[in-house]
Structure formats: structure tokens, C-alpha cells
Symmetry: D2
Subunit: 97 residues, 4 copies
């Protein structure tokens, strides 16, 4: 849980809006695959390709949020004095990607 | 390209239904993150955690479809005589995961 | 464990030699990073870049071995009658890459 | 490029020594696979398992170096005034892991 930081650190509004737009497109993509999966003639590799594309789109949303986090919250941690907590929390979320 | 196989090789119906159920849950998860992103108090790391969880859920759908593909289509390729095409197509979709 | 297949299924000699050549170069790369790590002026990001490059080189060795395995052993599984074991074993090694 | 930071930012000596120890063990592991690849009876999946294990060991070295970098160099970036450069450089090396 991110408790100690919650009161002060928020996702940058411009990044938040961009992430939302991209995630709307991810949702559309997921719905496309759901429609594919309704057809009994669907071919496995076509589903795998779509899942891989969605994975890539999600990674881009993640990269966008991560960049904002590093810039706005991690780079300022020494000034706030919460470096240790910020680093552990981030390592946890980066773990085994 | 999946062309040469399209007419004969289909995703197993039981796997297709399971994949669909899981993907419905992925869609719900994406919608949850979309709601998070509407709040200006959202914290970056909480978004990153959710994206990571969605990534993991998608990977499970992919693994399910891949297992069925290996069993039903790749393991039978030598019998059908399309080994080379099946392998190249699969390597393409497994690439840099 | 690969026990049931060990007696019959071997890595293709040409792939084995190519994989060996590439892995020799991976070892050289690892030794380069070991030398970097002996200097107290080494910069973290330079180490991370080298580790990423080694990761990529290892993945290429893995892809080469995997392609041969799919072609020579998985695509022929239905003929041998060991599809289930071959698929489970492969899924295990592909898991969360 | 890491140019602007090179003169001041160094990998923490304790982490450097730990990373070196772990990388020595990675080198030993690579040499083990090289020996496997000299035998014509080697089985593909056994090679794939070893490559995956080496990948995991390398990732741990990377995580160790990354944690030190976040703590010692990224968390202090706002104080030094090089946040933008530090973030871009880090995003580059984290990209598609």
C-alpha cells in the first residue's frame, strides 16, 4: 500500500488524461478480442497476436505513468525525506516484468 | 501470416469459453483503472500496480490459448506436413515477451 | 523433469553449435561487465545497459533452441504419442518470460 | 547517453561488490551451459531451463543496481537539478524489459 504518500503525491493531470485515453483504446481492443472469441472459427495464433498487442499498449500506459512518477515523486524524494519508502514501493511494482 | 491454416485449425471450444470468461474479467479490471484515472487524487504507483495485475491476467489468457495451440495444432504439425509454417508463426508471436 | 524424452530427443547439432558460439559471446560480455564492476567510477546506468544487452543476447540463444525444439520435438509429438508431456514441459519453461 | 552525470554519480561500493559476486556466479552458470552444449545428447528443454535460470539471476543483479541508482541518484535529482536527464536515461534502460 502507498499510504504514507497518498496525501501529497498525485498523478500529473496531463499524464492522467493521456493514460485514460490510451486505456479507453485498450478496452476497445479487449472488446475486439472478446468478439473474436465468440466465433468458433477463431484461430489460436490470431488471439495470441491480439493479446500481445494489448500487452504492448498496456506497457505504454505503464511507461507513461512511470515516467511521471519518477519525475514528480521519485526525483524529489531526497527533498521530502522519504527516499527509502519511495524506492521500495517502486521496486515492488517493477519486480519481475 | 496464419493464412495456410485458417480453414482447418480452430481454438478448442472449452478453452475459447474459458479465455472469454477471463477476458471479461480483464475488461472489468481495465474499467476499474479507468475509474481510478478520473480522480485527481489518484497515486501513480496504485495505477502501476493495477496495470501490472492486468498484464498478469492477460498473460494467463495467453498461456491458456498457447497450451491449446501447442496441443491441438503444433504437436500435430508433422502429421499434417506444415511444421515449418507452424513454427515460424508461433516464434513470431512468442518473440520478445 | 524431462526424463521420459531424454533417451530420444536431442538438440539439433547445427543449432547446438550456433547456440554454443553465441553463448561464448555472452560469456565474454559478462566478463566485460565484471571488469566494469572493478572500477569505483562505474555508473549504474552503464551497468544496467550492459545487463539488458546480455539479457537480449541470452534471449536469442533461447529462441534458437526453442525453434529447434518446436520443429524437431513438439511438431512430432502426436506421432510419438507424448503430446501431453511435451506441452506441459514446454509451458513450464515458457512460463512468465 | 550518461555523459552529464558521469563525473559525479557512481555505483555504491557495497552494491558494486555484491553485483560482482552475483555476476561471477552468472558466469559460472553460463560456463555450465557451454559444457552442456558440448554433448550431443543434450536435450533442448534442459538448455531452455538453464537459460531461464541465468536470465533470472541477471535480473537480480539488475534489480540490485537499479535499487541503488534510484536511491543514490534518482531520488536526489531534484536537488541536483538534472531530473529530466536522469528520468529519460532511466526510462531508456527500463524500456521493454
Amino acid at each position: 500500500m502507498a499510504e504514507p504518500h497518498c496525501d501529497g503525491l498525485h498523478l500529473d493531470p496531463a499524464i492522467r488524461e493521456q493514460a485514460r485515453q490510451r486505456l479507453l483504446s485498450v478496452r476497445g481492443h479487449v472488446e475486439g478480442v472478446l468478439r473474436m472469441l465468440e466465433k468458433d472459427s477463431v484461430y489460436c495464433v490470431d488471439v495470441l497476436k491480439q493479446i500481445k498487442a494489448i500487452d504492448g499498449a498496456l506497457d505504454k500506459v505503464g511507461a507513461m505513468v512511470l515516467r511521471g512518477h519518477l519525475r514528480d515523486h521519485v526525483a524529489t524524494a531526497a527533498r521530502r525525506g522519504d527516499t527509502e519508502a519511495m524506492v521500495e514501493e517502486l521496486m515492488e511494482v517493477l519486480k519481475y516484468r
